[in-house]
């Protein structure tokens, strides 16, 4: 109550004070004559109004922080997109065993997935002697009995594995048994007699159906040290390693596995497509008319065959590595 009275008194005093000020504070009487010469045309550009409204809105709403934050987000987003683009994250790429990077969607040398026939033109290699090197030459259409390249999901899997996933994403859900694994191990064993241990290891390798790939020994018989590189079937790998414990004291042991499923699928699919292309080129050989066309097809056939052989070789090597695990066993006698 007392506060209200005081406030009312203050307001009254202020009102009286400023009423008196109003009587004293008078603008110069020639104000209009000063202003008039400065009154030019009052037409303003539309953008004056537009920017004025925006700036006032920002100032009134104290939106500096929001504005700065928004700008920061935009800068970060643009930078992120740029980085993603620079790193090729926009298009999923796969790298096969040969180190070639190519798009996920598999297509090679004019043969594409689905029912699309071979491309109607083909670039001749530079070594072409017909003088048409580097030029596009017409290629006859596919024969009626041509079978298009099957999709990756339909490519015959290795070792009777039912169904191979088409993409890397699907590879992630493959059963452990369906995966192609290369296993390697390194074991160092302290034994009483080196020569005896080596004999036992050789016998154990033969027992599991493997073979000794490499062996070396140094020092006197019964002492010294020896190194054995053994290849044992993948399914006996763990059992064989366990059996090594009976030879002596395991000083060091390391096991490594490499999942090569994706490389394997890539190579198989590539091989299938190359074979189809080879068949098609073979069929073209009998139908080509001119010499230059025949030469072009033969050169392409040579290249495809070389690719087929190379891919088969890589697949064979990969198969061996998968089927037979590699175990390097080092034995030594403490008396050495």
């Amino acid at each position: 109550m007392k506060d209200n009275i005081y406030t009312a008194n203050v307001e009254k005093k202020l009102t009286e004070h400023f009423a008196a000020e109003k009587n004293k504070l008078k603008a110069p009487s020639d104000m209009w004559s000063r202003i008039k010469p400065n009154l030019s045309g009052n037409e303003e550009k539309w953008y004056h109004h537009f920017f004025s409204r925006i700036s006032k809105f920002i100032v009134q709403r104290r939106m500096f922080v929001t504005l700065a934050g928004s700008l920061a987000i935009i800068v970060v987003a643009i930078t992120g997109l740029w980085i993603a683009n620079e790193w090729g994250m926009g298009i999923p790429l796969r790298e096969n065993q040969a180190g070639e990077v190519r798009p996920e969607q598999f297509a090679t040398s004019g043969v594409v997935e689905g029912n699309t026939p071979m491309a109607a033109v083909k670039t001749l290699p530079d070594s072409d002697t017909s003088g048409a090197a580097g030029k596009l030459v017409p290629v006859p259409p596919l024969p009626p009995n041509f079978t298009p390249t099957p999709p990756l999901s339909a490519v015959a899997p290795y070792a009777g594995t039912p169904g191979i996933a088409e993409s890397s994403a699907e590879l992630g859900i493959l059963d452990k048994a369906e995966r192609q694994i290369i296993s390697t191990a390194n074991v160092t064993i302290e034994v009483e007699t080196v020569i005896q241990a080596v004999e036992q290891i050789q016998a154990a390798v033969e027992n599991v159906g493997g073979y000794v790939e490499e062996m070396n020994r140094s020092g006197e018989a019964g002492s010294g040290r020896a190194g054995i590189t053994a290849r044992v079937p993948q399914n006996r790998f763990t059992g064989f390693l366990t059996s090594m414990e009976s030879l002596g004291k395991i000083v060091n042991q390391s096991v490594k596995t490499d999942d090569v499923t994706e490389q394997f699928i890539d190579l198989e699919a590539r091989l299938n497509n190359l074979k189809l292309e080879e068949e098609h080129l073979n069929s073209l050989l009998g139908t080509t008319g001119t010499l230059s066309e025949t030469l072009a097809v033969e050169k392409e056939l040579t290249r495809v065959r070389a690719d087929v052989e190379g891919t088969q070789g890589r697949l064979k090597y990969l198969n061996r590595r998968i089927e037979l695990a590699t175990i390097v066993i080092n034995v030594f006698s403490p008396g050495d």
């Binding site: 005081y6 406030t7 008194n9 203050v10 307001e11 005093k13 202020l14 009102t15 009286e16 004070h17 400023f18 000020e21 109003k22 004293k24 504070l25 008078k26 603008a27 110069p28 009487s29 104000m31 209009w32 000063r34 202003i35 008039k36 400065n38 009154l39 045309g41 009052n42 037409e43 303003e44 109004h49 006032k56 100032v59 009134q60």
Partner: protein, 175 residues
Amino acid sequence: MNDSEAVSECQAGNREAFRHLVENYKDILFGTAILMTGNNAIAEDMVQEAFISAWKGINRFQNGRPVKPWLVKILVNKVLSNRRRGEPYKISLDDNIGGNQSGPGLAEEFEVKDEVGRALDKLSEEHRQVVILRYFSELSLEEISAAMGCRQGTVKSRLHRAQGILRELLIEGNQ
């Protein structure tokens, strides 16, 4: 001619119609300017600039709305911009409050300055501006908030705080 008719004429490009607005509001603008700046010459400049800006922007003015708050808002913007540029506006003993009017000089004015004037001098700049716009320019809280570019709640709290300080200085201090 009333304000609305004058604004319509101005919007049509009639400069003479603008004289009506200048004559009607020059005193309230000048008083507000001199109370805010404390400098006669600067206050005159501010008022002139405010009227010229008003003329330039009169096409944007929504006719029918009160003219005084609009003009005071332009003036306050001019004064605050002038301050941000760091130009001097503090009161000087050599200045002559009241301009060309016949009346007491500044020294004499200070002698007769009542306790309210002295109390107002002790307020902070923000509080004093709100009090001037409320009690001298007779703007509403909403109009003050638009003129000063701050929220209405801020104006309300500043006014309340200023009143509290003045109460202490004017009433409770005398007891």
